[in-house]
Structures are given as C-alpha cells and as structure tokens.
C-alpha cells in the first residue's frame, strides 16, 4: 500500500512552517498510524533529513499524548480511537492524508 502524506513541518515554535508532501511506501494494513510515521522517520534519518516530530507515549490509547489532526479531525477517522489505535486498514492504496499537529 502506497500513500501520500502531507505533513505540517515547522523548525521551531516561533519559526514559520509549511505543508510538505511525503510518499509512504510499503505500508501494511496491520501498522498503526504512528508506526507509519516511525518508518518514514527512519528513512528521513537515513537520508540525513530532520525526522517528523510527534508526541506519543503509551501507544495503547490511555495517555492521550498522540493528539494529531488527521485530515482535519482530532485522532483521525476512527470513532472512539486515539491516533495510536488507528490502524492502516482504515486506508486504501493511493490515499492522500493530511497530518497536522
């Protein structure tokens, strides 16, 4: 499954930011949304780029750290689930996803 992610990037709290497009390839439906970001970050680090900063802690839906806005909705499209509980079976090949803090 290949996805296009448009991610809000901002170097610092006072610096200006912009939406940057990333391609996420080889995504499997069993991955959680945060795991997709983890894999993308590994590739970014390999390329020598700044990884995408996002908060997460428990990854089981009880800490509330991972409050991303996905396509303009807090915690993404699944009702009753935090971002860490959102799995990629919610998406299909070729989907375009917008991610903001």
């Amino acid at each position: 499954m290949n996805l296009s992610l448009y991610v809000w990037r901002q170097p610092g709290p006072t610096a200006g930011g912009s939406i940057v497009r990333y391609g996420a390839s080889d995504v499997v439906p069993e991955m959680s949304f945060l795991e997709v970001l983890d894999v993308m970050n590994e590739r970014l680090i390999e390329r020598g780029e700044e990884p995408i900063a996002f908060e997460s802690d428990c990854r089981e839906g009880i800490c509330g750290s991972c409050g991303l806005m996905i396509d303009g909705v807090a915690h993404g499209p699944w009702r009753g689930a935090a971002v860490c509980q959102l799995h990629m079976r919610a998406y299909r090949d070729g989907d375009v996803i917008h991610v903001e803090p």
Partner: protein, 372 residues
C-alpha cells in the same frame, strides 16, 4: 502539546479528600451497577484535548464534565461534590476556555466516546452548588435546615454516600468571590422585600446597571460620551443638578482644586434649580436605594460624590429628628412608603443604633425570616 491547563483544572478539584486505609468490605457500601458503569465511562477520559480542538467555542467542558462525573457518581466523591463543581468550572473559566453550547463536536472527536450527557451532569452539579452556597450566604441559619431537608436534585440513590451529601456545603462557598456575593445579596434584597432604604450609591455610566441600583439618576449636565441612550437604563436625567458650566470648566477635574470645587458646588446645590432636585433625591432615598450615575473617570473627585454627601447629610439630619416623633410618625411613614414593613425592619440595622427599635420589630429571628 501543552496540556497544563487541564492539570490546573484537575488540581482545582478533581480529587477526593479521604483517608486512604485498607480497602473497605466490598458490600458495605452498595453502588448500583448503572452508576458504577457511568462513573467508569467518564473515568475513561485520557485528557488528550481532542474535545477542545473539535469545539467551535474552544470549550473544555467535556473534559471537565468527565472528571466531575467520574468523581461525583461515586459514594466517596459526594462530600466534595458541590465544591468540586464550583472550583473546577471556575478554573476552566480562568484558563480562558469557551462556554459549551452543545454543538456535540467534542463527543464525536473523543477517542474514549465520552458523552455530552456528562456536561449536563456538570451543569446540574454546578447550579445546585451555586444555589446551595448562595442560600447559605444570604441565610446563615438555613444551612442546618438544608442539610436535613435534603432538597437537592437527586438522581439515583447511592447508599450511605448520599447521607454525606449534606456535609458538602460545610465551609462553603469559597469559590464565589465576595463581590459577586454582595451583588447577589443586594439584588435579592431588592427582589424579595423592597429596596434597602437610605442607600445612595455612585456608579460610573460605563459600569453595568444592576437590579440593586434602585432608582438610577444621571447627575451630569452632559450625556456621557459613547453611551447609548437605552444602555444607560436611567430613571431620570437631572441635568440641572450638575455643576454650572462655569464651575465645571474652572474645576477641570484638577484634584488640587477639589476642596474649593466641593465648597462652591455645595452652594450651587443649595440654590434653585438644583435645590429642588436635591429635595427630590432625598425623598427618594428615604423610600429606597438610589444610584447617582456620572461619567467622570475620577471616581473620587467628581460632583456625584458631593451630591451624595449632601443627600446623606440631609438623611442623617432627618433621622436625628425621627426618634422624638417616632411614635406617631410610624403610621404616616408606612402609608407613604411603598416598601413593606418587613423590608424596612430588615433594613433597620443599617441605621445603626441611633433609633430605638419600634415594637421589637427587628429582633434577630424576625429579621432572618424577613430576609429569606
């Protein structure tokens, strides 16, 4: 994300003050299943902030309501239930969150599917606590009565925990500031038993009118700049009572000229046409509260201060004469006054000990009953 505002709301009241010992016998306090479930559903809140983000008003009501419901549904949470609602809602407001208008976006965004029913519960707890604390403030003797009467909107019974309910009012209300209390009490006095007599208040035209103001009269010659006619809500505009243009220009709100201004202005108030208006205000002040409305920025050095001192001087003089005529004036004054006798009895402590009480009317017990 910075969620410290949530931490401060929790710190304001999201806890139970109880000695922690060993776990009690499970069946000694029975908690209905539905109630326990509801508390647990609310306790699922992870304080992630999605509700605030989703809310068009930026309200943290769903979060706060979840915490209040979580603790307020259980027997251990009862003693502090009212205090908790007042404190947490007050802190939520202080943090700058918006109000809830029941859009319902929060429960759609909530990863734990907290229901906005909890907000209804929060509002219920808050209103009840506000009502209870107000009653205690304005009627100190009523607190005892309230504890036994148990007049509260009860939902499901909750075993012995409910018996502790009465204690939640103890030492309350700390969250309502004294200014609010005073306003509410005087508004209540005006509403319940006529206005307190002899009260002459000053108020800037830019401050909001209140029920407790009584008869509002503008004492400026010029209409206060930028205030709409209907917004001022005055009963009369006594243009002629204001200082003459000549005196006003000379004074120019210069504090160093204050004493001279006050002296000259007193002279003007003793001459027509101002003198007649002063007479009218004195007569009204005898019957009920009046408020002198003025526009000046300086709240200490302005003509309304002088007008009030003149009126109060006249009232004091009238009262000093009163005791000699008290016996036969009683009937006449009650016929003249629209305020019921009970209201005048309630207001009489403000007259100090100068006048002997007539017919034991203001005995403590009667006084309380007339206020409640």
């Amino acid at each position: 994300m910075d969620r410290s505002a949530f931490d401060r709301i929790i710190a304001a009241g999201g806890f139970i003050t109880a000695p922690t010992g060993s776990a009690p016998e499970a069946s000694s306090i029975l908690v209905p299943k539905t109630r326990a479930e509801r508390a647990m559903d609310a306790a699922a809140c992870i304080a992630c902030g999605a509700c605030v983000v989703a809310c068009p008003n930026g309200s943290a009501s769903l979060f706060t309501a979840a915490k209040i419901t979580h603790l307020g549904m259980r027997p251990q949470g009862q003693p502090e239930r009212g205090r908790r609602a007042l404190a947490m809602v007050a802190q939520m407001d202080r943090e700058g969150f918006g109000g809830c208008t029941f859009h319902g976006e929060c429960q759609e965004a909530c990863p734990k599917v907290i229901s906005i029913d909890d907000i209804v519960r929060m509002n219920g707890d808050y209103l009840h606590a506000l009502w209870a604390s107000r009653r205690e403030v304005s009627d100190p003797g009523g607190a005892q009565e309230e504890m036994t009467s148990g007049a509260r909107p009860s939902d499901e019974p909750c075993g012995p925990g409910d018996a502790a309910q009465g204690t939640m009012m103890e030492g309350e209300p700390t969250m309502i500031d004294t200014r609010q209390r005073t306003v509410r009490r005087s508004a209540r006095a005006a509403h319940v038993g006529g206005k307190p007599t002899g009260a002459v208040r000053l108020k800037r035209a830019y401050n909001a009118p209140e029920a407790a103001d009584g008869y509002r009269v503008l004492v400026d010659r010029l209409w206060p700049r930028g205030v709409r006619k209907d917004a001022l809500m005055i009963d009369a505009w006594m243009k002629e009572i204001g200082p003459s243009d000549e005196l006003r220009r000379w004074f120019g709100h210069d504090a160093s000229r204050w004493d001279e201004f006050a002296s000259r202005y007193r002279d003007e108030l003793g001459r027509p046409p101002a003198a007649g208006l002063v007479d009218e205000l004195v007569a009204r002040a005898k019957r009920g509260a009046i408020t002198l409305v003025y526009g000046a920025k300086d709240e200490v050095h302005n003509q309304a201060v002088v007008v009030r001192s003149v009126i109060e001087q006249r009232l004091r003089r009238a009262r000093a004469r009163a005791p000699r005529r008290a016996s036969h004036e009683g009937a006449a004054s009650s016929a003249r006054s629209r305020a019921p006798a009970a209201a005048r009895a309630a207001a009489s402590p403000s007259r100090g000990g100068k006048r002997p009480r007539v017919g034991g009317r203001a005995s403590p017990s009667r006084q309380r009953s007339s206020e409640s």
